[in-house]
């Protein structure tokens, strides 16, 4: 059965491999027979991945494959940016800034919520 799945990226890149293995998992979730619908959100220390100058070479292939399968949103939580002194101008253009209230709404709108 098709599910709506939220992937939350909460760990700081690049000390652990979750930032890219999570995206590999997203590809797999979208490609299976059930064709799950995935949304990605970056929060907490995961927000550092959204910096435009962070190295995305390991994950670029997954991001491209995801885009080929279906339009997918990559959100980043505004409060996490503020807490870390990150300005919107510091972000890569693929990320859309949302409020914590909107993040909470994403959690309630999705069937499954993963923490990566």
């Amino acid at each position: 059965m098709e599910k709506k799945i939220l992937f939350m990226f909460l760990r700081a890149p690049f000390g652990a491999i979750y930032y890219t293995e999570g995206l590999r998992a997203v590809v797999g979730m979208m490609s299976g027979l059930d064709e799950h619908k995935v949304t990605c959100v970056y929060a907490g220390d995961g927000a550092y991945y959204c910096l435009k100058d962070s190295d995305k070479s390991e994950s670029a292939g997954y991001v491209k494959t995801i885009a080929d399968i279906s339009e997918t949103h990559y959100y980043v939580e505004k409060e996490s940016l503020d807490e870390r002194g990150i300005q919107e101008g510091d972000l890569d253009g693929m990320f859309e800034v949302i409020s914590r209230d909107d993040f909470a709404k994403l959690i309630s709108d999705n069937d499954v919520v993963y923490d990566f």
């Binding site: 998992a25 490609s31 027979l33 499954v112 919520v113």
Partner: protein
């Protein structure tokens, strides 16, 4: 009866994720729920039959073997298995399978609940 899928991404010994996973899954099986695991990243080490640690009467692998004996289905990410030198899971307990993310996606499709550890 519910169908509960566990995603386990951490290995044995280093953190207590394996213990929490085994305890919740064991309790769920006793209550008659269906349990399956997808072991991803270092999570694949939990199913090794070759673990040895003299300080403990039972090692983590024993607990996962018991889960399988009690009806749990456990599938490990094949890419993760080979990346970690585990040669298609040749040292895994019998019944702990090597598969891929499509297996995980299918587990999620059929799951009533998903727990990550």
């Amino acid at each position: 009866m519910a169908n509960i899928n566990f995603l386990l991404t951490e290995g044995p010994f280093q953190t207590e994720k394996w213990n929490t996973a085994a305890k919740i899954a064991g309790a769920a099986l006793k209550k008659g729920h269906k349990v399956n695991f997808f072991c991803y990243l270092d999570g694949i080490y939990n199913g090794l039959s070759t673990q040895e640690f003299a300080d403990w009467e039972k090692v983590p692998g024993d607990y996962f073997n018991e889960l399988v004996e009690n009806g749990a289905e456990i599938v490990c990410c094949g890419i993760c298995v080979n990346a970690r030198g585990q040669q298609s899971g040749k040292f895994f307990y019998e019944g702990i399978k090597v598969g891929g993310i499509p297996d995980w996606a299918a587990f999620v499709g059929g799951a009533d609940r998903v727990v990550t550890l």
